[in-house]
Symmetry: C2
Subunit: 451 residues, 2 copies
């Protein structure tokens, strides 16, 4: 079954809402996945969305709430009573519930939590809220299946039946000792094929990968990705089992990371979507534009130094955009390669110097090719040999400089624990604009005064 959102469906639902035809809406939503219902709600007006949300039975409603975009969910939660919200939280897995609580305004949090019926859920949520955002602990769920190493397969299945009720997906069974310290892992497959009297101890796979609750979510994602895991246990500093992280949360982390880097490279200072308000979109774009503008003002000052030359040789101004654009592009390319490498490895084993040297050579190769082409062009189409030489020499210098600089900045930022992706945005283009102009006109001044 594949669901496809269409204008038709949306119009039919809108009309049904208008006419209060709940039967039609319910028959339409009945077989849909919560993610599909969320998709429909995103396209409807706020009031229409609320209308269909209220029609959903409790479990579907809770699932749908989780699938909504954060801003839509925020609006929806505002219109619900604390009691209603508590009822939805009751239906969720603890990590999702904790996430939703985290999004609530401070004054509402306590009230909502106190109204959740299931007290295990309350204590799970409270435990999870302790972990700082961005840590493995903050994205783990408390629901998992753990069995004692001393149990038999038979007992294990009985105990699991109790534990498994509240868990949607059982990927692995975690094996602990009497102190709840993680010993190893057991697959459902192993259990399914084992004889009832076997001790868990004999079946357990001790070669297990785990993550500490205080490690970052990016480290957790990297481990799960590297080892192709669908679930990974989270432990405290004594290796006591706290919870598990599942692959769906990690996919979100991976996507967020990638989107964040892309966003930074594109000069957006916060996450925006084209459906956000004009003010939110404008605000996300303004900071880097201001940086670029300050850079532009500096560049104008630098060019101002050469006002005399421009008056005598106005043709020098023609190639300002070319030199600036090439410097900017080369810088961004270099920075992007470093940022992707850092994102992939997370570590930097070899020194910075060999990397910079390599970039120097790459810059030299690209610089020679580009400046060669522009030299031929200028010698053919412009009458000034001085200008031709100036543009080519400046271009070569700017490209080499930009390549090295674009490599150095993200590596340096990373060393000081600043997000290296900062270097890929307007910062690097702006710096290259200023230095490019300086190099270009300095070369020009020397050449024009020499010949």
């Amino acid at each position: 079954m594949q669901f496809k959102l269409s204008k038709d469906i949306l119009e039919q639902i809108s009309k049904a809402i208008e006419n209060g035809n709940d039967g039609f809406i319910l028959s339409h939503l009945k077989d849909l996945h919560a993610a599909d219902i969320a998709e429909i709600m995103h396209e409807l007006s706020e009031d229409e969305g609320k209308y269909i949300f209220r029609l959903l039975e409790s479990e579907k409603a809770a699932d749908t709430l989780l699938e909504l975009d954060e801003d839509v969910r925020e609006d929806l939660l505002e219109s619900l009573t604390t009691k209603e919200i508590a009822a939805h939280l009751n239906e969720m897995e603890s990590d999702d519930a904790a996430d939703v609580v985290g999004e609530l305004p401070e004054e509402k949090k306590r009230e909502v939590i106190s109204q959740i019926e299931d007290k295990t859920q309350v204590s799970d949520i409270e435990k999870l809220l302790i972990y700082e955002e961005g840590t493995a602990g903050a994205i783990m769920a408390s629901e998992l299946i753990s069995v004692n190493e001393n149990w038999t397969v038979e007992r294990c299945i009985v105990e699991m039946r109790k534990q498994a009720q509240e868990i949607e997906h059982v990927y692995n069974i975690y094996v602990v000792n009497d102190e709840n310290i993680l010993i190893g892992v057991l697959s459902l497959k192993t259990l399914l094929f084992a004889t009832p009297k076997t001790q868990i101890k004999e079946l357990v796979n001790a070669n297990i990968r785990f993550v500490y609750a205080h490690q970052t979510q990016e480290e957790a994602a990297r481990l799960m990705e590297k080892y192709d895991l669908v679930a990974m246990p989270v432990v405290d500093e004594n290796k006591k089992l706290l919870g598990r992280i599942t692959i769906d949360d990690v996919v979100d982390v991976i996507k967020e990371e990638a989107e964040k880097d892309y966003q930074m490279a594109s000069g957006l200072s916060e996450k925006v979507e084209s459906t956000d308000s004009i003010w939110v979109i404008s605000r996300a774009r303004l900071p880097w534009l201001l940086v670029a503008m300050i850079g532009g003002i500096f560049a104008s000052r630098v060019i101002g130094i050469f006002e005399g030359e421009i008056q005598i040789h106005p043709e020098m101004a023609f190639f300002i955009p070319l030199v600036a654009a090439m410097g900017g592009n080369v810088g961004i390319q270099s920075a992007a390669i470093v940022v992707q490498q850092l994102a992939r490895q997370g570590i930097e084993l070899n020194g910075i110097i060999p990397k910079l040297f390599k970039e120097l050579i790459v810059g030299l190769v690209n610089g020679l090719i580009c400046s060669g082409i522009i030299l031929s062009y200028n010698l053919l189409f412009s009458d000034s040999v001085n200008l031709s030489l100036t543009v080519s020499i400046a271009l070569l210098t700017v490209i080499i400089f930009a390549a090295v600089f674009g490599t150095f900045v993200p590596l340096a930022l990373n060393k000081y624990k600043i997000d290296p992706a900062l270097a890929t945005g307007p910062f690097i283009t702006t710096t290259n604009d200023i230095l490019g102009a300086l190099i270009y006109f300095t070369v020009g001044r020397i050449l024009y005064s020499a010949f």
Copy 2:
């Protein structure tokens, strides 16, 4: 257990290789995951890597082969005989084996396949090789557990025992009818808790999401991500069960997609890593640099039209970088928002016109703020009211234009099934450079001649 690659380990291994101390190496690698061994091999020299690879027992060797970067794997495969490669392929899941075969040179492919011992594996690989790269069929594996709806739980477990041997992770059990047509899904959890005589028919969950083999891998990834699936069945046009896609493959697709967009935005024409050769890195960067250079030449032509003005008012040249940079940045921001939106949704429900209108307003907001600031700056620090007005009016115009243009281009590309991310690279900055210069000097010409 957490593995951390260190210089120490690498040096110890290098020394052990030099001294032929295989015992030390093996004791070191014994408990490591294939992904860790691959990480070590990436840091060693080619010959050292081959040395430790030959020490691995067959299953670990096959796993390690899959974890290697493509270029390292290519080198390694070249040094192996077709018989050795066939032996490794025998150990792999069919989709991985088909991927490796796909990377072999044409003349080697037949020979390797003919030497694979397990004939089911051979026919699986051959079936998978039919699917075009980039389709769901090409990333699916043939290994899965399927049971007939008419079986009992008891029979099911017996049959599964046979099928499950060659499968590393059993996530779900697919239920088919006598024609091998997909009917639904069964979780291991359900099976574990069911009574032996129950018919599968009574347990099956018919609400199943699947993908057709001919759909793109991006569509498969989007579905699995949307519905939080760890495995999804792949069917042919008659809904006959062909294979399954697992989450680890999808994580790769998601990462690749995100990296590709980022790469395009950064002006890289192919996937490169900082460990690639200087020539590969230079080549990946050259195409967009040439585009930027041609753009720069056009811009020089445009500015050339205004040579007379520059000679009289050389101060006009000062703000060329500012106007160009702002146009470029705004264009990239706008395009990035659209590209991310398209990547997320895959569909475009609403028309283009409202989007462009919204961008117009965003451009107006940012444009007014930026040109207001630059106007104040210029009135304070420059003596020329004409220049101040020229820069501000041009800046406002360029920002609004770039915002609308940056939104329009990716939408238009997407409409004609061209990757919209093309619009985020140097293409859009270059176009904005040229048009920015034209707008700036035209405004200047009008103002200077009017006053």
